[in-house]
Symmetry: C5
Subunit: 290 residues, 5 copies
């Protein structure tokens, strides 16, 4: 694992700049009010905003940990997809007898399934490899699910033709069920909205902190007050934003799970397993790669 | 995942307003007693309430993390229900031979099971789709469990008629057992009372903190004392309340697991799998949606 | 989930009162020694006990989290028992053919097993329902294990009589193995002593803290010293005690896993599944209920 | 669960006394240098060592939590061994037909396996019960693994003799595979060295803290400086040492997983299951017992 | 488990020395600017950098915990490889009938697979034991996957020859699928880049802290300012670097998962199981050993 990947800082800033501007404006306003109004005489011991800052740091540290767990789960699920794709093809090669070109068509469909799942999760239009399969399932809103159904139908045919015995059919069915589980887990991570009141609570506490901090710095110049308030509020916002980025690992952004690269790896593995020429992939030039 | 969902702030406030009022009254009383009574000369270094505040923040941060885990587990269990519902129908389509209208009736019953489970968990009356099934099981207090039993009875019939071989029966039975597990997990999350002495401890510490803080602020005006005490006690109460909301994900509230939306998704998927016209759903206008 | 359950405060206090008295006496002694002895001139910056208090809060927060995990695991295991009990009877109903009164006797024995396990864990004498089974296994020290063995023997008979095919026997055996796992997990939670040196460390740090705090409060009256020391030591002891309560969820106390209520639920479910009249249970008047 | 077990304090001290002496000497040296050398004028705000102390407390709290998880995992694995031992014998009793003395020999070998595993993990010479089996496997370095192989060979014989059908053979093989997994997990916990640079980091930070603290206490007497430094460094060392004790649960020490007591329990259970007279065990007089 | 392993301190320093130099230079520059420029009059209460330092400590403590989890997962996966390797050979010995030299060739290939996987993960050239197998799979980019395919093909032959019954084939296939899962998990841990914006956030906060700290120490000499800033920044960098080391457990470094030693252990076990002479291994002289 390397940590040298370029993270487009511009992207991160572009997403947080309005919030940062808001917090600067807010800190400035609080600073002004604090100095030139009836609040002038109102001071706080600095311990008070520090206590709130400590509590907020704790909550944000847990928050970023929860996002990390979610990001890691997404990556783990795609790891399971790699494993189950290989296992599916290995099982078919071991079990089907006599063996014609069936396994090759399974391998191609499985590779297409990986691309289809990745593209569905990222809400992208299907690529060419997937389109040729998707056309057969126009009445399905969930193309990856339709492809798994097609896998199962082919397995049924192989069983009815006697190319698979009953045990082998069940064993392959279990592998397909495992792929179905992984698909559903990705959809869960994609579609689950982070609890709204929890998010709101953290956001609200950042603003409370930005309100209390200037009152605790009344002995210092207004420039210092505004600068420090902006700095700390900005840091807390940045931690919050980093959490939000990490918890959404299928958004077609640099911190994503690298679904395209993983699907490429799977395709190469499967093609080599069935002794087909694997496709060549240009080295990825953008975003994270496996 | 989006975090833009509207959380009805009114709802959150309506649930905490009495506690907030209580804490304001309490802080005010403590402030008054502190200033105008024999306690006037009694002061504390501010470090003392700060230490308690830090300890309380730690406990609340762990507390909110435990609630988050519970919320996420609930969502994971419903994710598993999505997966197993699809797997059940895919297995039936692959295994049953010759295939009549049996699989369609399974798909409809499975969709009804999802609605029935969601409505039971939320303690709602059954909707029309569920009622037509529920009527057959009047002597059952647990309708979803009765529907699973019906699934199994149908599988038994298919096996006895020779439409399923013994292996296939076992494989489908495993999927039904997995649905039964998910059902039980939902019931566990719904019915498990959070340990009473742990809740009480946190609540008690918030009030202790609200008692100590004014003593540490004796150098400041009584208005400041009451304001800060109310603010901090309010923040701690809000964190506690957010935990309580999150840990109960089947209460028919905005932070719920979106069981209706999930059941809609499952119904559409299953109907498309068995080539039936899926129902149309009006876009949800309230609460969280998948 | 509700948090309104009454926790008998008296019970909690009765368990901690001696420790609280000890800590009051200890704080008082330290306070006296600090004021009226050669230690009078010995003062500490308050930061020093605060640092120790922060470290102690951290350790106790992790400690209470570990206890919570253990409590939640106990509840999860009993959730699995609910699921597997239903699955066992559903499988028997689906598989056994022709079906006589066998399944009913299984359902009754399974309900008895749940009561027997709960009562063993709580070290209570067996109730009447269990006794009629227990009498047959006088040479067994572990009655629930003996009942599982009886289940298996009956399954063996059904197989030898041809009422179950080989696959069905294996599938039911897996469910019984899962019940056996749950039983063992409960015994593990019941019997595992919390690491002694870890407990001791926390207890020891509470007393160190109670020794340092008065030295940091030398500027204040002895009454204040003793009061604050008692308060903080008491709070830390209370957190520790709450952990100890939670980590022992089978002690026949209010914070227990509600094993009797869960066994009642299981019995009702199973009786309805086999179309028997379920027993009526008086509403529980004491302790936690499902 | 009780927390009243005696932990031989002498043992704990005997392991840490040299480190404690080292830290006293070190603190004393730092104190002397601080007072009587060119460092005399060098002071620090106490906030600086406090910040380091807070960071160190955090790291140590996570560290002790990781050790606890490892200790609990060890206990969980032995719980699984209890369950699988019972399941193995129950399966053999249910499946083997006709049934001779085979199951009894399995039960005895399984009990011996438990002792053999426990003694291997603790690097003890084999007890008499194990020796009579171990003699047959002189060319094996891993006796428990050899006993599992023997189990499997006997299962093969039963299958070839027709006393087990193919399904039953597979089911028993799965239970043996599960025992093999538990064995490997124990070996992993026993043999995995805690990451050296992580341990070193914590140790190093304790010494840095012991260097900074006296500089922050320059206003106080040298006796106080040395005493407080020793106290805090000692507390941090004690937390570290408690972690190290807990993370090694197979070292034949009081905080161990009670493998002998667990093996005794298993032996009694298995003997009662096969209707043999279970051995009598003298109540354990040393170390933790189940 | 021992913690006495030598960690080449030189190695750790060689990796961090440039960062440490950079932070020294940076602290020095900030110190100079702070003293001799228009910032001279600019001071901060020390509480402000302390608050940031606390937040940073929290984030780093969670960070190191995440790395530890990853390191432990890698070790757990290799533990599963040990278990499944033994199980695979035990199953083949139990199932194959009549038994020729087939099992021995499986055992040798399985040992080679372990070496091949370890060497692939560490990006090392294949050792001699692996090369003799790798030559047959020149068109495969993933040699361990090709070896698993070879396992499966051999199992297929045994089944077609009647040396394995259908159930036994499935059971062995499950074990191979489990090895395939472990392989994929290792690849996931090896190839997953830690989220870039999360790493960047922590790094960025360390530099912000190093900027604020001198402003909070304006009352002290510039030497003290630079020394303390360097010390704290260095400590935070060291914690960060320790995390990075731990999270990459397949980099052929001392903190690695000891894949070679584990593969040796597996080879010895397997050879003894099939009654072959196990190889002799010289005691490892470098890096961690099992």
């Amino acid at each position: 694992m390397s940590i040298t990947n370029k993270v487009p800082v511009g992207l991160l800033l572009s997403k947080t700049k309005y919030e940062l501007l808001a917090i600067v404006a807010y800190s400035f306003a609080i600073g002004i009010i604090d100095h030139y109004s009836y609040l002038e005489g109102m001071t706080l011991p600095l311990t008070i905003p520090t206590l709130l800052g400590t509590a907020l740091s704790l909550l944000l540290a847990f928050r970023i940990n929860q996002s990390y767990d979610r990001w890691w789960e997404a990556r783990t699920v795609w790891g399971a997809i790699v494993n189950d794709s290989r296992t599916l093809i290995r099982q078919l090669q071991t079990f089907v007898s006599p063996q014609g070109s069936t396994v090759i068509s399974f391998a191609k469909r499985q590779a297409a399934w990986c691309y289809a799942l990745g593209e569905s999760l990222r809400r992208l239009p299907f690529s060419d490899k997937v389109k040729q399969y998707a056309e057969d399932y126009e009445n399905h809103t969930n193309i990856p699910n339709a492809l798994l159904l097609k896998h199962s139908e082919e397995v049924r045919m192989l069983y009815l033709d006697g190319q698979l015995n009953p045990f082998q059919q069940i064993q392959i069915d279990s592998t397909i069920a495992s792929l179905c589980d992984s698909m559903g887990k990705c959809e869960r991570i994609k579609n689950t909205v982070f609890p709204g009141n929890y998010s709101m609570l953290l956001h609200f506490l950042i603003y409370i902190f930005a309100t209390l901090l200037p009152l605790g710095l009344s002995d210092y110049s207004i420039a210092m007050e505004v600068m420090l308030t902006t700095l700390f509020a900005g840091i807390f916002l940045l931690i919050e934003r980093t959490s939000i980025f990490m918890q959404d690992p299928f958004e077609n952004m640099p911190t994503d799970t690298p679904v395209t690269a993983l699907a490429n790896t799977i395709e190469i593995n499967l093609m080599q397993m069935v002794a087909c020429e694997p496709p060549k992939f240009a080295p990825a030039t953008t975003y994270y790669q496996l």
